[in-house]
Amino acid sequence: ELKVEQNPLFLSMQEGKNYTIYCNYSTTSDRLYWYRQDPGKSLESLFVLLSNGAVKQEGRLMASLDTKARLSTLHITAAVHDLSATYFCAVPTGNQFYFGTGTSLTVIP
């Protein structure tokens, strides 16, 4: 079974700081997705990474994919409180999507 590991699981950071969330997966996949979930809410699609070397940016978030290393990163620049949420990476392979464990991000004023 495919394993998708995220780290850290919990992240508390001050406003204005930068940080990176890592997503490692255990088998070959040429694409990866990032989702955001606010407490008690559903998942919202953030990024779709469709090839090796893909980089996408939206506001203070930037995601990248290295399919050879089986690694994706979600970089947060100059964090603001509104970014507080849980972030999931998801890897499609075979006949299902595998979701990472999630990273719970809290941005402190």
Partner: protein, 114 residues
């Protein structure tokens, strides 16, 4: 364009009862996925339907079942409810049966088992 819709939003049942959750995918999407998310935990894959057929099933007991209708909407049934079935049940749809297609999620149905 309407997104993925789920009903009911909240459902309270007692142990041993049955629960039925419903999902309508985005128009034009043929695949429906069901996930269970217990409080504070990640997403556990339950079921995947495409073109009316069950394509894959997660590691859940047989009392979790479902179906997909000709209009691609889907139903998740949970029989003989147990306390640990309390969770947010998320439905997602995608455009094709290719599992690599992006998933779009509904708002979820929160099931509480007392």
């Amino acid at each position: 364009e309407a997104g993925v819709t789920q009903s009911p939003t909240h459902l309270i049942k007692t142990r041993g009862q049955q629960a039925t959750l419903r999902c309508s995918p985005i128009s034009g999407h043929t695949s429906v996925y069901w996930y269970q998310q217990a409080l504070g935990l990640g997403l556990q894959f339950l079921l995947w339907y495409d073109e009316g057929e069950e394509r894959n099933r997660g590691n859940f007991p047989p009392r979790f079942s479902g179906r997909q209708f000709p209009n691609y909407s889907s139903e998740l049934n949970v029989n003989a409810l147990e306390l640990e079935d309390s969770a947010l049940y998320l439905c997602a749809s995608s455009k094709t049966g290719n599992p690599a297609g992006e998933l779009f999620f509904g708002e979820g149905s929160r099931l509480t088992v007392l």
